[in-house]
Amino acid sequence: MLTADDLRAQVRAFLVAHDPAVTERMDFLRARFDAGLAWVHYPAGLGGQGLPRTLQKAVDAEFAAADAPTNRPERNGIGLGMAAPTILAYGSDEQKNRWLRPLWTGEEIWCQLFSEPGAGSDLANLATRAVRDGDRWIVNGQKVWTSSAHMAARALLVTRTDPDQPKHRGLTYFSANMKAPGVEVRPLRQATGEAEFNEVFLTDVVIPDSDRIGDIGQGWAVSTATLMNERVALGAFVIPREGGMIGFSAKTWRERPDLRTPGLHDQLLRLWAAAEVARLAGERLRQQLAAGQPGPEGSGAKLVAAKLNQEIAGFEVELLGAGGLLYGDWTMRRPDGADFYGRDAGYRFMRSKGNSIEGGTSEILRNIVAERVLGLPPEIRLDKDKPWKDLPR
């Protein structure tokens, strides 16, 4: 098997053939994909070489050292983090060849059309209908809380194709063209004043059957694969001490002795300790995985992060006293992506309220920990075996 050094040599040879100083950016990225140096753990022919994921780091470092253009992964988080693994797992060969290359290069940004006004925690209750019409499907419905929809070229879309089946069984998964007629994207202004997210209205949108991912009626299994990747992406990266939300409060505490009170000191120390331990727990999880001993601890990471972010941000606003009465800017804006820590304390306070809702509410996550990790009996379900169309709503 190839080593990191072999890959570094490949990158150097590639850079000789495609000098980043004189090659057009997109040509460079396409060539990098075709050389199997995009994501080495992907299969050959799809941007990779079927190697362990751990080797990617060496490749990226070598390209970075040469000042090569990147695919700007921060602009396409859903595409790279969720769409690509879903396509890889459930897409046809033709779909993989068609979608993965422009996805990786960033030519096509992806978004995710899952949640609906009537299907949040209970995603499988979704009502967006896809009706077959020969070799195409006609889609009608409304999706909500869609980030990047206003920038996206393509979407992951889950729809109801058979309302007579119980809710998990009548779903089918597609890739939708966001530029198709009938797709309307409207900003969804959130409690912080700005609009990271969108509402997406689908009116008689035509999707060719060749853009269906997985079998008809298999939409739930494909959606689950997508969501697995979301929750993992959300709560478990390792940061330096005071690198997260607590850093702002610690800095303010050190710089503003006038704000200190004994009660706030006690709160700060409790929060500091909890934040530091959460950081250590994240690192411990990473060490376990690196040592080949994956544990279930990651399931709790997002629960901890959401609670901590909210408590710390609430503390920070109170610490600021009169300053905590202010807010940077309520103007409706369209930021490029999610930003939990950016801007001022008031923004952090409000934005963190979303952390225990987005990507699975803390209540649903507690159910998952209780049932999947600890083996407690599942919720009693009244909706599992009834046709979806007969459920009360």
Binding site: E230, R231, F237, A274, E276, Q288, E363, R366
Partner: protein, 415 residues
């Protein structure tokens, strides 16, 4: 990421997360996992404890005259080699590190076994090691005593109150007296009392900080005339405290002045980390027992563990244990490597594990309902051990105050 509320209950724990390879730049933390040897040691200790420290035996012993199980201690100490874990091989010990010792503490915490591992094999041993490793005048005697401990010829305790706070100076309550007529060269006499000492009841060797001229650390044999140990009724009778009274007792000195203080400080710091590991084990086992109960206990014709009111409490408890485990493993890994962050790590671990253990004891009783409040059920012993341990070797609050100084988060100025 897409918006709120969309992981459904069907979502699975992912097998290969995308961020595994993304090592954080510049962040290098010691190994917080359990090594294979540590896991083997755990199995050995657990099998002895399963045989000899089942709950009924532990409960029954709390109401006898000998609240410590010296037979069980002998088995752990000799057969598994727990007594000399931290003692170098040159002195007959296992030459293991705090990582292994912490695993034993976790197991002792899980079972509430009434054995003096913490007091003898950790705290007193570390005090003696601190003296021995400095190669000073008392080093040779300390080495002999360590050999006795490793060979289980002796069991020791550091004569300080169990509520002593690491990082704070321990002011000795025992005075050094003038030698008596006929005392051999190098013999000292000690008088005074030490209240609330842990693991001193089964100890035949006491390591005693003494004040006066000379100030120092002394060793007293349990059989010496003038020494009395009075058992006290303790909140946690699985680790019964005693009051020591020394009335002109003969002693030998192993360290003097600041060296004695450093030895005591090292012992208390290591003790706090080892106690945090005990607290982790306690919280983990209390959760296991409670989990099994809520799965089988039926009310309203369904297992009570199927109610979200119960499930969510259990899930939060499990999350708290995962956090405590990270804190504990970080502290013992730092101690083992003598990491510059050790003081932060130990304060953090004791603060966090104290609260998690108390949470565990409280949840254990509540989620068992009536049976959890009965004498015949283990829950009360878990809570008593947890609460007692949360006060011992520094409360969470004291350790957070230490953190404040260590990480530069100073208190509010006086009003």
């Amino acid at each position: 990421m897409e918006g709120p509320a969309q992981v459904s209950q069907q979502a699975e724990v992912a097998a290969e997360p995308a961020w595994v390879a993304d090592e954080a730049e510049g962040v290098r933390l010691p190994d917080m996992t359990y090594t294979e040897q540590e896991t083997e040691l755990r199995s050995a200790v657990r099998s002895v404890l399963a045989d000899r420290a089942d709950f009924n035996a532990v409960l029954a012993r709390t109401e006898t005259a000998d609240t410590y199980d010296t037979g069980l201690w002998r088995a752990l100490a000799s057969d598994v080699g727990c007594a000399g874990l931290l003692i170098p091989e040159s002195l007959g010990g296992a030459g293991a590190s705090f990582r292994e010792a912490a695993v034993v503490c976790e197991e002792v915490g899980r079972s509430l076994a009434p054995v003096p591992f913490l007091g003898s094999a950790a705290i007193a041993t570390v005090a003696l090691l601190a003296v021995h490793d400095r190669g000073e005048p008392g080093a040779e005697l300390a080495g002999e005593l360590l050999s006795d401990l490793a060979a289980v010829r002796s069991t020791a305790a550091l004569a300080v109150p169990f509520a002593s706070v690491p990082g704070n100076r321990v002011d000795p309550t025992v005075r050094v007296m003038p030698p008596a007529d006929g005392d051999a060269e190098g013999t000292y006499r000690l008088s005074g009392t030490v209240a609330g000492v842990a693991d001193a009841l089964p100890a035949d060797m006491l390591v005693v900080p003494g004040d006066g001229v000379p100030r120092g650390l002394f060793v007293v044999r349990a059989g010496e005339a003038g020494l009395s140990k009075s058992p006290v009724v303790s909140l946690d009778m699985t680790r019964q405290l005693c009051d020591l009274r020394l009335d002109n007792v003969r002693a030998r000195r192993i360290a003097a002045g600041q060296r004695a203080e450093l030895a005591v400080a090292a012992a208390l710091q290591a003790g706090a980390a080892m106690l945090a590991a005990e607290q982790l084990g306690l919280a983990d086992r209390a959760l296991e027992i409670t989990l099994a109960y809520v799965k089988q206990r039926h009310q309203f014709a369904r297992p009570i563990g199927s109610f979200q009111a119960i499930k969510h409490r259990i899930a939060d408890w499990w999350v708290a244990v995962t956090q405590a485990r990270a804190a504990s493993r970080y502290a013992v890994a730092c101690l083992a490597e003598d990491d510059p962050d050790t003081r932060v790590a130990v304060a953090l671990a004791k603060a966090v594990c104290s609260e998690t253990a108390v949470l565990a004891g409280q949840e254990m009783i509540q989620l068992h309902g009536g049976i959890g409040f009965s004498w015949e059920h283990p829950a009360h012993l878990y809570l008593k051990r947890a609460k007692s341990s949360s006060i011992a070797l520094g409360t969470a609050d004291r350790h957070r105050a230490s953190l404040a100084a260590l990480v530069n988060l100073p208190p509010a100025p006086p009003a």
